[in-house]
Symmetry: C2
Subunit: 366 residues, 2 copies
């Protein structure tokens, strides 16, 4: 993780025991990232040094989680523009549009991807307009990507700080999918709340939904919580309802892939079901996300495109055939939790409570 | 399937394309059963010819589903008593107790297991009391087991007939786990309703929850529905909530492992969550089960013991490591759906609607 050694912006007591992704060396360098598809069996760092490798890494979920995808895409802009640094301003500008489109087309739901690509593109255009040469623009774009990464890390820490106040010592938190250090350029969003509470001396335990089809809870959340010494129990998604029914859950904290102006929240498939269970069992349901996950252009959930992924993720879970050959499968990667089921948003700018339409604008300063 | 060739008691138009389990030959024979742990990749019929093999087959879920476990246990009594047929009445009686205990200890939740073992034991005692020799008692116990099997088959058909009336043509049904021909000695419980509706010319489509951890929906329900030409789509358990939210589900039909006097229903883990989602989305939630699944000794859900199974079912799903080594896992095999979430029970004796405490007794003739 960039800046991982100085602990800048992180609560005392928490230090990331691994690096999710980081840029190594100057403009001639590359992104080193953990290939998350191989966890937990294998902790392998791969070298991503071209646009197409970055696009493939995002599509194949070697890097995933809305904030981490944003950081990866920012670095991806640098990788994609590097071969064009010898061109003139016009050629570089045209390449910037193509590279941006290529990255933006990698996955449709997480808004951080588009946000990061747009920010990089805007910066590049500004610098070209000021008369900088493409080679110098490229160097400044690497600085910008590093800045996005560092800001994400600080925002994670701020989310942790604000969210930790919502947890009592002894709290048991249910989380879905992975919204941790592996999903961000920092200490996570949902899991930042847990890390910060633990760092503040509170005793927190976690139930992690395994999160089919790709098992980010079983493979990733459990892995990183265990590495940080947090008490974690994995359950099948099916077991969440009974755990709620037994009164074991004090609150739910999840991340988000995109949040609309009204508070409707797209997140990993199954989140909507967890939100309904939380409501029925009168358990607070918190969504933790940085400002970059809120989409001012989406009025409500209906404006958020939902990615449908390959049926083979379900048909051949883990490489073995788990349905009859050619079985029809419906495999949406996300669902939308309506704002009325959200107790509060935990953001880097503070806690946002209802009425969301008003308070999101107010807190985020739109 | 016993009696599968004459179609006795089954609605016209449905014929089981496979045999879940059947007794072959006389008292010296054996149970031939599909090893359901190998489906859908391999359709292998195994030979179960000893008590210990039957106990292992039940424990390892080679045969599963409450009614099928009942039938298997009845045959298991014959297998277990066969080595004792040369003993005197007293020795045979003692063996009967031991064999019954051994089978009853195989799994704790499905009440059909205890019901079938008790019925076999009762029959054996009666015959011994009438002065029959153990060898003749054994022959009569095989007849009794065959009768239990045939009754189960007829009850499935009756469940189908009653339940089919609840489905309009064009209905889309969500089901969880497998409560089909593979789970019974006949055409199923929940799936009997679908088979019977289809046989009556209604167009019915099905969403099958894959049902982690052991994927009975993905592996078994999809397999048998596909074989019978029913339109089926597999979804991850996590996708059920969004499918409800999109208004795609007209009703839920599930089976049961044990139903208490008040209507509280133990069924595969995740059923309680589905029931809550059905309630929130105003979709009818039906439980299909024969009379033998109702437990007159359980006053409510709290009286039903819930089996916790090995963490490795979750940690090593499908043979591959899906959590870090030694990860803590909570893996209950069942949950309890409170009676207030059940719209009606579909039984072989007819549809039971609330108030359940009164109407279960009335309809089942307790």
């Amino acid at each position: 993780m960039a800046g991982g050694k100085d602990g800048k912006g992180r609560p005392a007591g928490w230090r990331n025991p691994f690096s999710t992704l980081e840029w190594r060396r100057g403009t001639g360098g590359y992104v080193a990232m953990i290939d998350q598809t191989l966890l937990p069996a294998t902790q392998k760092v791969i070298r991503v040094d071209t646009l197409e490798k970055m696009r493939e890494s995002i599509r194949a979920l070697r890097v995933r989680g809305a904030p981490a995808i944003g950081v990866a895409a920012a670095y991806g802009m640098v990788l994609g523009l590097r071969p064009h640094a010898g061109k003139g301003a016009r050629g570089f500008l045209a390449a910037m549009e193509r590279v941006a489109d290529r990255l933006a087309g990698a996955r449709p739901t997480a808004v951080n991807l588009f946000w990061a690509v747009d920010r990089m593109k805007g910066k590049g255009k500004d610098l070209l307009a000021k008369g900088l040469q493409p080679r110098d623009v490229l160097a400044r774009l690497l600085e910008e990507a590093r800045a996005i990464h560092a800001e994400d890390s600080s925002q994670c820490a701020a989310i942790g700080k604000h969210g930790a106040r919502l947890l009592r010592s002894g709290s048991c938190v249910l989380t879905h999918c992975n919204a941790g250090a592996l999903a961000t350029g920092g200490m996570g969003t949902a899991l930042a709340v847990i890390y910060a509470a633990a760092a503040a001396g509170k005793k927190v335990s976690v139930f992690a939904d395994e999160t089919r089809p790709l098992l980010q809870g079983a493979r990733l959340t459990s892995w990183e919580l265990q590495k940080s010494g947090i008490d974690v129990t994995v359950i099948c998604d099916n077991a969440a309802a009974s755990v709620f029914g037994e009164g074991k859950i004090d609150c739910v904290v999840v991340g988000a892939d995109r949040i609309a102006r009204n508070g409707d929240t797209a997140n990993k498939i199954g989140t909507y079901g967890v939100a309904q269970l939380a409501r029925v069992h009168r358990v607070p349901f918190y969504v933790a996300a940085p400002g970059s996950t809120f989409d001012p252009l989406a009025r409500g959930g209906a404006d958020i495109p939902i990615e449908n992924r390959s049926p083979d993720e379900v048909r051949q879970g883990l490489g073995k055939m788990t349905t009859p050959r050619g079985m029809k499968v419906h495999n949406p990667a996300f669902d939308v939790t309506p704002a009325r089921l959200v107790t509060a948003f935990i953001t880097d700018k503070g806690i946002i409570r209802p009425p969301f339409r008003k308070n999101i604008q107010l807190v985020l300063g739109w």
